[in-house]
Amino acid sequence: MHVIKKLLVVLLIAFIIIQFIRPVRNKSEQVLPTDITKTFNVPDSVLNLLKISCYDCHSNNTNYPWYSNIQPVAWLLDSDVKNGKDKLNFSDFGSYTKRRQQSKLRSIASQIQDNKMPISNYTMIHSDAILTADKKALIIDWSNKTKDSLSSLN
C-alpha cells in the first residue's frame, strides 16, 4: 500500500512539474504580406471555413482550447501544429513558388474530397470543424478555380 501511495505522489509531482514546461504559442496578430488573402482572392464564405476547419494547424494563429493549458496536451498540439504548418501554411502561402502553390491547391481539394482533412482526431474534439458536403464543395471549387487561374498565367 505504501508503495502505491509513494508512486502516486511521485506521479503527482511530475505532473505538476511538467505544467511549467510550455511550448511557445502559435499566435501572431501580424498579417504577413505573404498571407493567402493578400495573394489570392478568397471569398469570405471560404475564408470562414478555412479559419474554422484548417487554421488551427495551417496558419500562424491557433485557436487554443482551454485544455491546452494542461500538459502534456500542449506539447502534442505543438507538434501537430508544427507538422501542419510545415506542409501548408495559409499565413505564408504567398512565399511558395507558383508551381508549389498549384500543387498545394490541388492537394487541398483532393484531401478534402477524400475526407482526409480535417483529420478525424481533430474533428472528434472540434465538431464545428467537420465539413458538410456543401462546405466541402465550396472549398474545393475555390481551390480548383484558384489553381486554374494560376496555370493560365504560365
Binding site: 505532473f15 496536451v73 513558388t97 508549389r100 490541388r106 492537394s107 478525424s120 472528434m124
Partner: protein, 237 residues
Amino acid sequence: MKQIFSIIAISLLLLSACKTKDIAETNATETQTDQLYACSMHPEVIGKKGEKCSKCSMKLTVPVKEDAPETTIADTTATAPTTDKTSITTTPSKISIKGLLDPYIQLKNALTKDNSNDAAKAGKALEAAFKSFDKSALSVEQKKTFDDIEEDAREHAEHIGANAGKIAHQREHFDMLSKDMYDLVKAFGAGQTLYKDFCPMYNDNKGAIWLSESKEIKNPYYGKSMLTCGSMKEELK
C-alpha cells in the same frame, strides 16, 4: 486530492483521443438518377452509371453534359510545349540530371506494377538525389529554374516515400511530380531518349502525363488494370 486525480484522468482521456487512428472514411456516394455517363475512352458509348462500355468493358464514368466538351482542354496542354526546342540544344551537356531521372523511372516502373513499397523506396531515392544534386555547374538563371522545380518535386518525392501502402495517394503526387520532371528535362535535357506519355483518364479525366524510357506504353496511373492504356505524345532527348 480527488480533484487532481480527476484532472489527470481527463487529460489521459484526451491524450488517448488524440492517438486514435483515422477510421472514419466515409464513402461519399452520389446518386444521380437521370445522369447519363459515357466511357472515358469511347465517348460515343453512353449509358447509365455502373454500366460497362460495349467496346472495352470499362465502367462508364464520364458524366455526359450537353454543353461542355471538356476533353479538348487536355489535348491542348499535351500538344502545346514543342516550341522551345532550341533551348535544349543550347544547354551545355555538362549538366546531367540522370541521377534524378533514374529514381523517377524506377518509381514509374514500380507504379506500373502496382507495387507501392517499391514506389516508396524510389520516392525516397529521388528525394535523396535532389538533396545531393550538385548545383555548382548551374548558371544563376539555371539555378533559379532548378530551385523552382526542386522545391515542388522534392516534396512530392518525399510524400511518395512516406506513403507506402497508399498507392492512390502516391499516384496523385506522381502526377504532379511528372509535370515537374518534364519541365526539368525541357530545361536541362534528358541525356537519353525519353517519351512523354499521356493518360486521358486520370485525375477525373483531366488527364496526366508521365515520362518513360521505353516506347511501349505501360500506364503507371492504373497499373495492371489498364496497363497499355495511354498514348505517346512527344519524344525527348
